[in-house]
Symmetry: C2
Subunit: 428 residues, 2 copies
């Protein structure tokens, strides 16, 4: 049994987890694939740094090409992150017939089609289960579990940092800024949290999920993105009072082959299964025409959950090697991408307005909705204890995005409307 030799690019948190699993579960892995799996070489930034795992210094290198060009290496596991340089390594590895397992959502969201095409040409596997929702095997589920179905909706809580912040805000009534600071101290948020809190990280993951779920190449720029930094304590309080939780949802939808993908803070009915996904956990809700409602829940990040997905991909590559079928099961998109226009994107909306507290105001406001053919599910007017204005809370029936924009523009132009405090999509 010739051992399968792995070149590991990166030995940070996740890379360390990969070493731990490959070494700790070696006999189980061997029982499944029939060969030893050996971490042969490891790319690190500094060979002399102290590490929490015992790894022979001979295996470490600071030069990626030592690994990419090593003819003994069968599989590259890429957990170093980064985009352009990393892409160069991966394409070169593929050209040399090496298979690739990667956790790199940024790379796959931006250059997935190019990398998968290169893999296909070279008869190589590129697997990337760990790139979305860490330990949840959602890519396998979409591609294989639901191969028979037509998926029409994917909703994901795919960023643990923002879900941690929103959960804290909801449970403790805390303010965004305070919770962000705490999350940074606990290591749940980066020093520069922009990519997480402004929704970009989630958008990259949704690009990957939408591409796989709808079998059309969705690009990152197709995703309409809004983050959580503008969410107020009041918004969350109102949501809870009306029976909703505010979640940063990635939403990919398809109707008659027209698709839309967005990331935005959304009010989710408390009874919806995704509403109770709390803290740093991730979940992906998938609706298929035949299968109906499903949801997949688990850790979205972290050393060991992410490493679980990477090593499961490694097992799949090695099984394919044994069968001689690498690169023959590529998940290439076969549908033309057609994006929905704003006229085709429908959802309910929540709107919180501050208005002048005098006769006839509500009539004028509801008239604006009627003019743009947006019908209302519920309307609540109440005095605002802290100032002379009144508050109006509106939840619409399903309305298209273009019509909702027209309503908002019309409201903004009314003298009686003092402020449009919040607008949220509503789900469930």
């Amino acid at each position: 049994m010739k051992p399968i030799k792995v070149g590991l690019l990166g030995l940070g948190t996740v890379g360390t987890g990969v070493v731990r699993i490959v070494e700790g579960h070696q006999s189980d892995l061997q029982s499944q694939v029939g060969s030893p799996i050996v971490i042969e070489r490891v790319l690190v930034q500094n060979k002399n740094k102290a590490r929490s795992i015992g790894i022979s210094p001979d295996k470490l290198t600071e030069d990626a090409w030592d690994i990419i060009h090593d003819p003994e290496i069968d599989v590259i596991v890429e957990v170093m992150g980064g985009i352009e340089t990393t892409k160069g390594y991966i394409l070169e590895a593929l050209s040399r017939g090496k298979h690739v397992v990667t956790a790199n959502k940024d790379l796959m969201a931006l250059h997935g089609p190019e990398i998968l095409a290169a893999a296909h040409e070279n008869g190589c596997d590129v697997l990337y289960e760990a790139s979305v929702a860490g330990g949840i095997p959602i890519i396998r589920t979409l591609v294989e579990g639901f191969s028979s179905d037509r998926i029409t909706k994917i909703m994901g809580i795919v960023n643990g940092t923002t879900n941690y912040i929103l959960t804290k805000m909801s449970k403790e009534g805390a303010a965004y800024g305070d919770v962000l600071k705490e999350a940074q101290e606990l290591g749940y948020a980066e020093a520069d949290p922009t990519s997480d809190v402004e929704g970009l990280d989630a958008a990259r993951k949704m690009t990957i999920l939408a591409t796989l779920g709808f079998r059309a190449n969705v690009a990152l720029e197709d995703v309409d993105v809004k983050g959580i930094s503008a969410i107020s304590r009041e918004d969350i309080l109102y949501a809870k009072r009306l029976g909703y939780e505010v979640k940063l949802l990635g939403i990919a939808e398809r109707q008659d082959d027209f698709i839309s993908v967005s990331v935005q803070p959304t009010m989710v009915k408390a009874s919806h299964p995704i509403a109770s996904v709390n803290g740093v956990y991730n979940a992906v809700y998938v609706y298929g025409e035949a299968v109906g409602e499903t949801m997949f829940y688990g850790a979205g990040a972290g050393e060991m959950p992410t490493a679980t997905s990477i090593v499961a991909d490694l097992v799949a590559v090695v099984k394919n090697l044994k069968l001689g079928v690498n690169g023959k099961q590529a998940k290439l998109a076969y549908k033309e991408k057609k994006l929905k226009t704003d006229e085709q994107i429908a959802s309910k909306y929540f709107m919180l307005l501050h208005v002048q507290d005098r006769a006839g105001v509500l009539a004028r406001i509801t008239q604006a909705f009627a003019e743009h053919e947006v019908s209302l599910e519920s309307v609540l007017q109440q005095p605002n204890p802290s100032n002379p204005e009144a508050e109006i809370i509106i939840i619409t029936h399903d309305a298209n995005k273009a019509a909702a924009s027209r309503v908002l523009k019309s409201l903004a132009s009314m003298e009686v409307v003092k402020a449009i405090k919040s607008v949220y999509r509503v789900e469930g």
Copy 2:
């Protein structure tokens, strides 16, 4: 592109769904596998019966051997149910090089190892995703998604009928008998509900999940089974008051290679993700050493969800056909089965006792727990308004099953204990 020819055994609810998906999603399926998939022949009980789908009468037969012996058929899809006769068909089909997709949990729980061995010998696939939890791709998840991990616990709500009944009892305070009757009227429960309500159906599914999750051949008789028919309204009321929901849980656990599998009504902490799985929905909670907590949720039965899993298996068989690797990825158990003794099975327990309402009783009862080294998490004594006895509610810390049995035996022998009303395992 030579079409792939399918022989369908059974055209009941699920069989009808299979025809609908194969015909309705034909172009999508073809894009994925590269060949048309054709339902070539269908076994029915009565060729002349009226049907809700249009299917050519030429394709129907009342003789299974017409299909098994047809050299044109590539894949058998078995959705007729039954055990011995059906097993004969499947073994014969395998001996003729036909691949098999089955939804038959009874067959796989009882004869899985024999059937999988026959498949392996004949270079054939036998796939059975639909046999557990309908539309949830839990078998793929355990075998492939978590191939790298060591699963230590699987908890499943894998029977929709009982979950429907328990949900109704919990939400409406209704009695078991009334809800069962209603479930029968709605078609959620069979006229003879024994297999569902006494836990046998769940036990079969847990046999399959434990075998796959722990990679050792668990047999149906290894599963300790208790159903829901003895659950009272009071039990559910007490559970809710203490912050629990009563669920029929299949629980498979592993510690140091020793395993236990049970099906029993369990009090689940309301904050546990599986506690909020309601109605006819199924969910499987999986704990892996590396991945931590995960849960997979969806429809556990029904025409289209079950057919989704069957046709996904069919797609996998056809992909393997194209790659020439059928029968080479069999999920055979490679670990020796070692069952836990009652001394090794640990959990918390809830106990509800009726006792004489006089001085010193609580001391005597708690003494019985201490003697058998079962420690207590909480104890509540209160008068029982409807009779002169007092009620004692006890929740233990983790205790082994043997010790808990000894405590119960000792309590039963005490004169002051009038009745041991309920005993439940507690989770979360």
